[in-house]
Symmetry: C2
Subunit: 217 residues, 2 copies
């Protein structure tokens, strides 16, 4: 599959590399087509990897992954352009973290979410929110954390969620560990996991952990 | 131990009954000393159980449990009175849920929490936030959910947290499943678990589940 990965940070590179390993063609998108980190990633990742602007990448991809920082996501998607996103699955991994204050907070929370903002602004994209509740290295290698643990997906389009779930299974996630939280408003609840994720990061001193939902039935 | 349980709802009754079973003396506190549900609970629970006003109960207890609804908690604690809470461990189980809108939201969130509001208003109480991230029946019987699962505690007073942890262990929680999130500002992160807890309740159709933190080390 041809996949666009918007964002050249840790999340974008981890996802891009995993997709290349799985045989996909990946174009990473950045604000500029000569982003040093993105060029380095493309050079190291072989013939199926390339770098372009957000618009280049979104045009290229049959599926688009938003791996930009939450504060930059809407601008990146606007640069990609609504026509390039229309009808496509848009996997949203971003969290609306605000680092400007004394403690990290969410810039949109409680009555709305970044996932919903994106779906509202790009109504023809099929937004699936997932992978935003864990570290990049665990996203693409769930075995870094022992035992069963959970991924959440949500979005308005059931077929899109099934395709994304298949992709996550190809990453190594057991389908039994993937919980469908329903429509895109579920993004509020998963983005609101970030404060405790950050608190646990600070408590443990590492990010090799994940949420698991234990249930009786 | 003499323990005050403020609140006559499901959480208060579950905690009160468990404490009675464990041999404690429990005075349940309510707005009025003749609350029908509270009187019924006291009548069914034997000689160590009684009902009083919030102030009666707080005066009685060496430890005070806030099991009122989040919207009523500050008023209940004001009725109990700062002098009756001074120096005591105040176990805060409440969540600031707002049921007035289309979906349930948090009335305080992101940059503050109910746990912090309570600690600020009653600076001489030793507030420990815990048990607010799961159903009442699981709080007092963790074996309802199979496997390992997690309780979070936070608060400014380490000795108070140790005493509360001992009490939780007496409820049946393994100490290895209790994670200390540090000071009372951790209450933000646990109260913000409520949106996904409510979403999972609706997804599963039952409340016999709990969060577990899987970790590599």
């Amino acid at each position: 599959m041809r996949i666009a990965v918007l964002g050249t940070g840790m999340v974008g590179r981890a996802i891009g590399t995993k997709l290349i390993e799985l045989g996909h063609e990946v174009r990473m998108g950045s604000r500029s087509a000569d982003h040093p980190g993105g060029l380095e990633w493309a050079a190291e990742s072989g013939a199926n990897a390339s770098l372009g602007t957000f618009a280049d990448a979104a045009d290229f991809g049959e599926v688009v992954v938003n791996a930009t920082g939450g504060a930059a996501s809407l601008a990146a998607l606007r640069a990609a352009g609504a026509p390039a996103l229309a009808g496509k699955i848009l996997i949203d991994i971003a969290n609306p973290l605000d680092f400007s204050g004394e403690s990290v907070t969410l810039s949109v929370v409680n009555t709305d979410s970044l996932g919903e903002q994106i779906q509202r602004e790009f109504p023809e994209a099929r937004v699936v929110k997932t992978l935003n509740t864990l570290n990049a290295s665990v996203m693409v290698d769930p075995s870094r954390v022992p035992g069963d643990h959970t991924l959440f997906v949500c979005g308005n389009d059931d077929k899109a969620k099934r395709t994304v779930t298949d992709l996550l299974v190809s990453f190594g996630w057991p389908s039994s560990g993937i919980i469908d939280l329903g429509d895109i408003s579920g993004a509020r609840s998963t983005e609101m996991l970030l404060p405790i994720w950050l608190r646990l990061l600070s408590t443990f001193g590492h990010s090799d952990f994940n949420f698991h939902i234990q249930r009786a039935r």
